[in-house]
Symmetry: C2
Subunit: 312 residues, 2 copies
């Protein structure tokens, strides 16, 4: 757990757990690195964890990715259970077995695919969540509707953030992601649709990592607007659909001020795990409710999409 989940979430579980030791680390993306892994590995060693031990991971996406990676690599892998406590980690990181840490300025650059022994999701944890965290997680819920379910998008777009029905949306998102991931566990094809908004979004998130950090979902909202613009340019979306997506995302998310020099963001995109050779490949929506993947996108198109984002 991290110092936050130790304070707000651990007390809700503590008495229900059998004998255990606590490993608490600093939270936040800036600590999702090798140094934190070394702290966890050191504690696991200190507590004499063996291959039959179980690591419960209580926290948001950072703790889940990092804790899972530590478990998956400690003595070549011990079992772990994810207990995601944020909306983002419940609807996204909790499914798919993607684990890892940041390296240098690259997000999730070092990691493995490894499934938890179990994942336990309770909406109760969302009560302790700051609104900005909730909004961040909501971006993935929106993404799942945009790439797979137009009717759910039509329901969702009529409501503000705080009026959403999480008891419907969380299972909807988890079930959809689970189906995609089980069809294509190693991201050979279909699973790539989940990367909609993430090529531009990750680069934007990475760009601000060392500056005035923005939340994952805030960056993905930027990415979804930019990549919808690119989709419109490629005749995958109508102008009306682009406007509908942009308007809703702009209403929910604060506008991020991008640097006028775009090269650092483009350079970050060239390190994207989805690329092949030197070509930048994206997943884009085709209309609303469907998606395609491995669409080659030029630096000029990305540049124009960032201009579009900043202009609206």
């Amino acid at each position: 757990m991290d110092v936050n989940t130790e304070k707000f979430c651990y007390p809700l579980l503590k008495d229900a757990l059998p004998a255990h030791e606590v490993i608490s680390i600093e939270g936040g993306e800036e600590h999702k690195n090798l140094e934190a892994c070394q702290q966890v590995w050191d504690k696991l060693t200190h507590f004499h964890f063996d291959r039959h031990s179980l690591l419960l991971i209580l926290g948001g996406g950072v703790i889940g990715d990092l804790g899972g990676f530590c478990a998956a690599t400690f003595k070549r892998g011990i079992d772990f259970v994810l207990i995601p406590t944020t909306l983002l980690s419940q609807v996204d990181a909790s499914v798919g077995g993607k684990l890892g840490i940041d390296f240098q300025q690259y997000k999730n650059h070092i990691g493995v695919f490894c499934e938890p022994a179990a994942t336990l999701i309770s909406p109760t944890f969302l009560n302790s969540l700051p609104e900005r965290e909730l909004r961040s997680g909501f971006a993935e819920v929106i993404k799942h509707c945009l790439i797979s379910d137009r009717s759910m998008w039509d329901v969702l777009k009529k409501k503000s953030l705080t009026n959403q029905d999480w008891n419907v949306l969380i299972p909807h998102s988890v079930a959809f992601k689970k189906e995609v991931v089980e069809t294509d566990p190693k991201e050979g094809g279909l699973r790539k649709i989940l990367n909609f908004g993430h090529t531009v979004g990750h680069a934007v998130e990475s760009y601000f990592l060392s500056k005035n950090r923005i939340f994952h979902g805030e960056a993905i909202a930027v990415g979804m607007i930019c990549e919808s613009f690119i989709g419109w340019k490629k005749n995958l979306l109508t102008k009306e659909e682009l406007d509908e997506i942009s308007a809703y995302l702009k209403q929910i998310y604060p506008t991020v001020t991008l640097p006028s020099a775009r090269q650092p963001i483009l350079d970050l995109m060239s390190q994207d795990k989805k690329n092949k050779g030197n070509r930048i490949l994206m997943a884009l929506t085709k209309g609303i409710g469907q998606a395609v993947w491995d669409v080659e996108v030029s630096a000029e198109e990305i540049d124009a999409s960032l201009d579009y984002y900043q202009s609206i």
Copy 2:
């Protein structure tokens, strides 16, 4: 590759390879750590390796374990090919998908199971190998005979190190290990027989890691003598079999002087990945040519076996 294999082995392959970049790191167990991984990950990033890139790993066990771990964790895993250049790595590390690095004083404490895309073995590389390296690898060949094939042991024990027929022994060892590993990839049962000699051996090797380092096979030879003694004490071996094993190993391997205070070695054993809870579990030969696993061994028995080793 490491600086040695770059000098002695790379020239044999270089002209046969397609376009490639070279990553060369310091060799030796003392560099099988996170710092070296960071160097490799940094180079892979620098060369813009993506998920479709291939890492060829040219070297002994250290390079194979570390390079494989780096590949298996870079962008959540890229393909790699092992080209083991030492006898030890050819008959042992090349099969089974065990990858990893040392952490603090613990060997292979951090790692994953992941199979290479291919493994290429050529006895040609052994010509450039110092005799001490050859002797180190020979310990695993001996182990494979002791736990699985009495008739091959009877052939092998009549010859000195330099008279062995590697064209027979290498395929014999690889085929045996491959069969065991495919039957039990995650070391749930049978595969544990490969740990014969390794509970005591790893602890002895770890003990000397920060001192006057000894080679893996030299430590495993100590381990096989000690664990054969424990097997005799547990009526798994006759006195004649114990004497036969000890005499051959003592003839091939120099005697290691163990510390008179045994606690540090026992403490290292308590971190062994094969343990369950606080019990120390070993794989032991049953006669010569068969083995059993998960045999609980007490600190006193281990202590007595170290005395035996030092007395003969």
